[in-house]
Amino acid sequence: MEHLSQEQLDALVMGPASRDDEAVRRHLATCEACARRLMRAAQLESDLYDAAAAAAGGVVIARARPAPAPIWRIALSVAAALAVVAFGTWSLISRERLEVASPPARTVRAPSPDTPALRAPRNLGPGAYELPSQDVCRCVTVELSQGPPTDPGGGQPCTPLTVR
């Protein structure tokens, strides 16, 4: 008899093995090469079972759903989440209001006629006097100095206009 084909070996290790095939039995008992091939095929088949068991084990775990949590626990979680959301929303709204709100209204009196800013610019106050236009120094000198400002004219009115 020739060596067993791969199909024959597969049939031996795959299905419920039958011991009826006398020719195969005799060949396996005398052919070391086919016995080794059968050993390898059986090893593969055994590994396939182990790998499938592991893969199916994952499926079982995926199917197995945990026991439903008690209603009160779910309600408590939802209530806590709602409380957090509500507090956060309230905080944001309050902060925006503080930033946008106008200053609080105050009761003010009508300004008196003596209020300086409300008088006409040329309307001097009582006791004031106005220098003649020729005595007005329109010359402005700006110097970068560390000391206090000094009078360059020594107290005399400056007539020429100098620009530095």
Partner: protein
């Protein structure tokens, strides 16, 4: 899909094991039906000759039933316990065979040497690592299989261990188509393993 399994009551491994530990013979029959093939494969993979492997499978179940009846079986984790029992019996058979060969002028058996049968593949860390790599490679290949073929393969090779006829009924396919799908997956896995081993 999978209507057949839903129609009839499918006892889990734990349920069957519990009934077998109580001594129900129908539970033992179911256990033998489900796991004998796995035990046989484990023996063949160790290099136990074909006929001797079949005999050892029967011996494994007889011993387990005897242990249960004697009250020495506290738990029943299958197929692991049966495979371990079979491995122990194979080693014992290997030692007996070698002693016999030594006595009878050491004429070698035709198939596999006694050293290989006596060798315990589960005890060697290096072989365990190699086996883990093989299993990882198989799992990777299963992940990239066509989904339908993968489902059929897992139904046949998974814990439920459907026969091809049962899988065909459950998936609404012919037995021939189921067998073809399983063979395709096996061929893919075999090729992937061969490539991995030749790459090493």
């Amino acid at each position: 899909m999978r209507k057949g399994r839903q129609d009839r009551r499918w006892l889990s491994e734990a349920e069957i094991a519990a009934r077998a530990l109580e001594g129900q013979s129908s539970a033992w029959d179911e256990i033998v039906r489900r796991h004998s093939h796995r035990v046989l494969l484990a023996l063949l993979a160790r290099g136990v000759p074909w006929d001797a492997a079949h005999d050892l499978v029967q011996e494994v179940w007889l011993r387990l039933v005897r242990q249960q009846r004697a009250g020495r079986l506290q738990s029943l984790a299958l197929p692991g316990l049966a495979i371990a029992q079979a491995g122990w019996l194979a080693r014992e058979a290997g030692r007996t065979k070698r002693r016999h060969e030594i006595i009878m002028s050491g004429r070698a058996a035709a198939s596999v040497t006694g050293d290989e049968v006596d060798h315990d593949p589960g005890a060697d860390p290096e072989e365990q690592a190699i086996r883990r790599e093989r299993l990882d490679r198989i799992r990777e290949e299963l992940e990239v299989c066509p989904p339908r073929a993968r489902q059929i393969f897992l139904a046949v090779y998974g814990p439920e261990g459907c026969s091809h006829a049962e899988a065909a009924r459950d998936f609404g396919l012919s037995v021939q188509r189921v067998r073809q799908a399983v063979c395709e997956v096996r061929a893919r896995v075999r090729t992937a393993l061969r490539e991995t081993e030749s790459g090493d």
